[in-house]
């Protein structure tokens, strides 16, 4: 059995990596020109966020904070399909 304190030493590094990626992704979201670009960055941001949720759950040693991960993963697909259906409304009229 690996002691929890071993992980505790590495957790700040992991938090730092994924939080930095989160900040850069959100800068991309804020500065994007078109809607498609923004939604693409939102997808990547949300997948990054899923990992941050798991890391928070490991930090608090509480598995219950992970419960939101699966609806989050499913809503990415829904946002994609909704925006694409909105965008392609013109070509069928």
């Amino acid at each position: 059995m690996v002691s929890y304190s071993v992980l505790e030493g590495v957790l700040p590094l992991l938090f730092g990596l994924f939080t930095l990626a989160m900040i850069i992704y959100s800068l991309r979201v804020f500065t994007s020109k078109s809607v498609s670009d923004m939604v693409l960055a939102v997808d990547a941001l949300t997948i990054d966020l899923i990992i941050i949720f798991v890391l928070i759950g490991l930090y608090y040693k509480s598995p219950y904070l992970l419960i939101g991960v699966i609806p989050l993963a499913a809503w990415i697909l829904i946002l994609d399909i909704v925006v694409s259906r909105y965008l392609s409304k013109g070509d069928r009229k």
């Binding site: 994924f18 498609s36 939604v39 997808d43 990992i51 490991l58 990415i76």
Partner: protein, 125 residues
């Protein structure tokens, strides 16, 4: 012994995934075209999402926490990884298709077979 092996494999996967996530987020700024950024988004989804989730599941299995905490965390991680591997390509595909069809962003490419085929289809009618 097996716990340590699992732990180090998981840690390596997670760290590698973090680095790949960072590179993907830099790639979002480096690529100048929406269709090129799709490739960076793929790295963000698979390299920065799928691999770290598998790695974190392995880490959670190897720790000395209570058994229900370990089972819950690794189970959720594995299901989320499977969901991401299924839905991320479909999402970026449908987004790229709608963007190309509606003309929201015109691709900067050497050759565009979709446009060629659509023009040909219109000409025949």
């Amino acid at each position: 012994m097996i716990d340590w092996i699992l732990f180090y494999i998981g840690l390596a996967l997670t760290l590698l995934g973090g680095v790949m996530d960072l590179i993907a987020s830099i790639g979002f700024f480096r690529f100048k075209d929406f269709y090129m950024r799709l490739h960076a988004a793929t790295i963000g989804a698979i390299g920065g999402g799928f691999y770290p989730l598998i790695g974190l599941a392995l880490i959670a299995l190897s720790l000395d926490l209570d058994i229900y905490i370990k089972a819950y965390i690794s189970g959720v991680c594995v299901i989320a990884a499977a969901l991401i591997a299924l839905t991320a390509p479909a999402g970026s595909h449908i987004l790229a298709r709608a963007t190309h069809r509606s003309g929201e962003v015109v691709p900067k490419v050497v050759v565009d077979r979709i446009k060629e085929d659509m023009d040909k289809g219109d000409g025949e009618q």
